[in-house]
Subunit: 258 residues, 2 copies
């Protein structure tokens, strides 16, 4: 079970997941609220695309906040860097997801945003968004919802992770990934894992050896299958039951946000 992931991350110059506009949070707002074409056109005109390579920064902590970003394909991470250079990953951003929102708070981005693999990123100027929101209350409400959701869905996961065993952390994280990949149209049980074990461990607060061991344990239990560049969930229900059987067992609320 070693052949699976080795080196995959460094060699693949193909992003692990692609994304068409149908998964974009903003696109959803457009459709739902029937934004006038003029506004939409304007928004499109003010949108720029970037192509960061693996390890490249989209922005750095402290940079002046000007835009929010949507992952078109690939994967990014937000990380906090300590005074001594140690970094802590606070979020992974999957195709279709928005990031950089927290810069609204005080005008600076609070985290570094780094490409986990070669990616394609859509940049949207916040001034444009705000202006549209001013002209259209539905958009305003829509953006509130996006912000609230984008931040909250992550928060709910983090809330749980503090109290759980290493195995439960990993299972809930996989389940969370599954939901999120499904949202952008990917198969919910065939997850790309473009990030390294070290990155996963960093994010979940586990040693990377523990991540490896638990992946192995779950595979031995026939609940998952490690694949070339990702992981296949063979029985999501059973996985979840295993995670919530012994410990705290908080319901996933993310799933109720249909």
């Amino acid at each position: 079970m070693n052949e699976a992931n080795s080196g995959c991350v460094t060699t693949s110059h193909q992003p692990s997941a692609y994304f068409s506009c149908k998964g974009c949070w903003l696109a959803e707002v457009c459709k739902r609220h029937a934004v006038p074409d003029t506004d939409l056109k304007w928004l499109r005109l003010n949108t720029a695309t970037r192509h960061p390579q693996r390890g490249a920064a989209i922005y750095r902590s402290g940079d002046r906040f000007h835009s929010v970003f949507v992952v078109k394909c690939g994967t990014c991470k937000s990380l906090a860097i300590s005074s001594r250079g140690q970094e802590k990953i606070v979020a992974f951003h999957l195709p279709g997801e928005m990031f950089g929102l927290l810069g609204i708070t005080n005008g600076d981005y609070p985290y570094d945003a780094i490409a986990v693999e070669d990616s394609e990123i859509c940049a949207i100027r916040y001034a444009d968004l705000a202006a549209i929101c001013g002209k259209n209350l539905e958009w305003q409400r829509g953006l509130f919802r996006i912000m609230s959701y984008a931040i909250a869905s992550h928060e709910e996961l983090m809330d749980q992770l503090g109290s759980l065993s290493a195995e439960a952390k990993i299972i809930l994280w996989l389940d969370n990934l599954s939901d999120r990949y499904a949202h952008s149209g990917c198969a919910a049980d065939e997850l790309p894992l473009p990030m390294t074990r070290v990155e996963i461990g960093n994010y979940l607060g586990l040693a990377h050896e523990t991540v490896t061991r638990i992946f192995g344990r779950l595979q031995k239990a026939n609940l998952v299958q490690l694949t070339e560049c990702g992981i296949q969930l063979k029985d999501r229900a059973k996985l979840l039951k295993r995670a919530t059987a012994d410990t705290s067992d908080c319901e996933k609320r993310t799933s109720t946000m249909t």
Copy 2:
């Protein structure tokens, strides 16, 4: 060191911290953006005050979202309740702080909000807020900032807590509390602790015995002093250094948000 907190919570019918409008996030927006008096008056008219007793619910998970809330005095908690009735505290809400914002996402409150002690809560109808925001772009931006801050400041703490030792978790949490109490005008080194050890442990993902032990350990090291209904931070700098010395040591970004 036992005499300190015993029974204090159940007996005190005096909230642990009071709050005048000067600490309110909304008040801050008003002042900063010089909201027209008419709007302010209208906002005041549509504001109701509640007086939940210890253990009483302000709202329950799944209730229809209609208002956001500001703690005037006392303390509340947001909690997720699992299918088997187990609860996980996801946030404490201190005087001056807003909660209930996450209800924006899908129109229902995602968590239960419960008074940790007898409290006084200000309810503000979201429809009113949104209407004001529609009339005033500065308010819109202000509300975005409040939302972003309210959610993000908590998120930053939670992000750290996943990776840290029990002692570091508690120290960072105390430091976070200190910042937040200071914002509403309380002394930054004389913290009320109206919640029980069990609640603290639940929130931080620790056994309540561990909370007790670490409080004791820090007191023995002369870094804190347990008081009648709270805790005194005797050397905040040294405390922080102790928390960040060995482990990951991520900078507190909250403090940079002046």
